[in-house]
């Protein structure tokens, strides 16, 4: 974790809704991993004091775009609006890399990435890293309508099999990502699932993957104030193995999305504890559109309850 002043290299848009900022931030770009996030100060507005968390869409470590990170976001409030108006050479105050990212498989594996709406953001960075390490990448990309699909052309380029769903049928198959998930898992001989999107979607993806006995890593969105483990606002209820003489209720812990997460083992998350009360829409820009580890031979057993190592 460092504090860095980044410089905006470029602003562009993906489709109608999504803004992209490519930011020169060498110290962060060099070490950040897929699923980790940055917490960005959005101007000197004394009314909205908190940083906004953003997962990273892509990192350019080499070439003319070296040491840059690209964040992608939609406008949800004053913070993201401020960022959407930044252009080349503007400076941004960044805190990162934050959180625990996705665990990559330890041996060659068939990976299925499932993204919903803007939640697909960190899956692009993940897909790049998985492909670099020789894993097979398949993708299911879903959204309410075609305008809310994040960069579907790029998805077709980087995925062996790509499936698109929209709820209104304006692109790909009509329906939700979970409607095609089971058949895609079978068709692609999927061995590990990575997913990011709205919590009800994550809950459904985690359930289906777990039914197929496949490890599933979910990147959650929770409201957060600090992003580095001190404020305790961004917790997710997790189920851990009950110790001797412990009731099942005692084996539920609130883990910080910013430090133990934002990537959790989807099988351990207690979804109905969190999707009953969801962040109100005007607060939702305080969640990272991003970010579990599964107990299997493919990925390490997680120590989600350990304090961050320092």
């Amino acid at each position: 974790m460092i504090l860095a002043t980044g410089e905006v290299l470029s602003h562009k848009k993906y489709g109608e809704h999504f803004h992209s900022l490519t930011i020169v931030a060498p110290e962060i770009g060099a070490t950040i991993k897929p699923g980790q996030f940055v917490n960005v100060r959005c101007g000197d507005n004394r009314a909205t004091i908190l940083r906004r968390p953003f997962s990273v869409y892509r990192v350019h470590k080499r070439g003319g775009w070296a040491s840059t990170i690209e964040i992608v976001f939609d406008i949800r409030g004053p913070g993201s609006k401020y960022l959407s108006e930044l252009r080349g050479h503007a400076t941004v105050d960044l805190l990162g890399p934050l959180g625990r990212g996705f665990q990559l498989p330890k041996r060659r594996a068939h990976c299925l990435l499932v993204g919903g709406g803007i939640g697909a953001t960190p899956l692009f960075f993940l897909a790049d890293e998985l492909r670099n390490e020789g894993h097979r990448v398949d993708v299911i990309l879903g959204a309410r309508d075609v305008g809310l699909l994040l960069n579907p052309i790029e998805v077709r380029r980087l995925a062996s099999v790509s499936v698109t769903t929209t709820e209104d049928g304006s692109a790909g198959e009509r329906g939700r990502v979970t409607d095609v998930l089971a058949e895609t898992i079978e068709r692609c001989s999927t061995e590990v699932v990575y997913t990011c999107g709205p919590h009800p979607m994550l809950a459904a993806v985690a359930r289906i993957a777990t039914e197929h006995k496949i490890p599933v890593q979910v990147a959650v969105e929770e409201l957060m104030a600090c992003g580095y483990g001190v404020c305790m606002t961004c917790v997710m209820p997790l189920r851990r193995k009950a110790k001797k003489d412990e009731s099942p209720e005692d084996a539920i812990v609130y883990a910080r999305s910013c430090t133990e997460g934002p990537v959790f083992n989807g099988a351990n998350v207690i979804w109905n504890g969190s999707d009953e009360v969801v962040a109100s829409p005007d607060q939702s820009e305080l969640t990272p559109a991003s970010v579990p580890a599964a107990r299997s031979a493919l990925v390490d057993p997680d120590d989600e309850f350990a304090p961050p190592g320092n």
Binding site: L3, A47, C226, V230, C234, Y254, S274, V277, Q283, P308
Partner: protein, 307 residues
């Protein structure tokens, strides 16, 4: 390292800038960015006699120039603090203010009992903004009697360790509560805890916090803190005060010092800038140089009220 030595009652500090409870953990998470030895002190996250899970989410809502929180003092308990956090803080030469909480007087006392024999605690802040299960969940800090009961028994349990009850501003007479705390043996006072608030999402018509109401913090509450410190310093001029509430920079800190605080604590600003407290220390030193002040105690309560 900037040295602005100050005596907070019997507690010697290298500078008057602390970090507020619940905004800095027990120092480990910010450690990659902050040398904890450089701070005047760390008021750690409140601890309870057994681990508390805290409240469901959402626990936070941003509000104009501030934020509401309803965390429910999620913490791993006093035993974890004593065996894991405290040795780390001592090793890293932090000045440690332990913050204790509970739902009954007995729970406070049991935490205090465990801290009495621990090595490396400079002082104890008593978080009495907790629901009192023995009084229909009224907060201890809202009652003269409950404040006196907790402070008196905690002080008796801690013996020589200085005790700073943290008072709530949500009361009719802060002076009456402060008087009760001091009468019960408090060595100083911490002012202020968060201000009660609530926010509603008009689309869903639900409270923005799962806990319905929460504590407001950040720059929005600073004038309330300045007033509270001023009021209590005028009433009890010799009592050491820790001023806190919306301090984000040196100017904010100096405002509280001029109102009567001997030390200040940086809170919500840590969420935005983990190094905010270090900037405050440097800023105070620069102010003192600019104004020819050699001893910061000259500034405590030095607000000019006439002329």
């Amino acid at each position: 390292m900037t040295k602005i030595p100050v005596l907070l009652g019997a507690v010697e500090l290298t500078n008057p800038v602390l970090v507020a409870s619940g905004t800095f953990g027990a120092g480990r998470e910010p450690a990659p960015l902050v040398d904890v030895a450089k701070l005047g002190g760390i008021i750690v996250k409140s601890m309870t006699v057994v681990p508390w899970k805290g409240k469901p989410t959402p626990r936070m809502a941003e509000t104009p120039s501030g934020m509401l929180n309803a965390i429910g003092i999620q913490n791993k308990g006093v035993d974890h603090f004593v065996t894991e956090d405290l040795p780390w803080l001592v090793k890293h030469k932090a000045t440690v203010f332990a913050s204790i909480a509970g739902n009954t007087v007995d729970e406070f006392v049991r935490v205090a009992d465990k801290l009495r024999t621990a090595r490396g605690i400079a002082a104890v802040e008593v978080n009495i903004s907790c629901p009192n299960l023995e009084d229909r969940n009224n907060m201890f800090s809202h009652s003269v009697e409950a404040t006196a009961a907790v402070v008196g028994q905690v002080k008796a349990a801690l013996k020589r360790i200085p005790v700073f009850p943290k008072l709530s501003p949500n009361v009719t007479s802060l002076t009456a509560i402060a008087d009760a705390a001091l009468g019960a043996g408090a060595d100083g006072l911490s002012l202020i805890n968060t201000v009660f608030g609530m926010a509603i999402d008009v689309e869903t018509r639900r409270p923005k916090l799962a806990g319905t109401t929460g504590g407001l913090s950040g720059p929005a509450i600073r004038p309330i803190a300045v007033r509270a410190v001023h009021e209590i310093h005028r009433a009890f001029p010799h009592v050491p005060l820790i001023g806190q509430g919306g301090v984000a920079n040196a100017t904010d800190a100096l405002e509280l010092i001029l109102a009567g605080a001997t030390a200040v604590a940086v809170g919500t600003a840590n969420f935005v800038n983990p190094r905010a407290s270090l900037d405050v220390i440097d800023g105070i030193a620069a102010y003192m140089e600019r104004h020819g002040v050699s001893d910061i105690s000259e500034l405590v309560g030095a607000v000019k009220l006439e002329g």
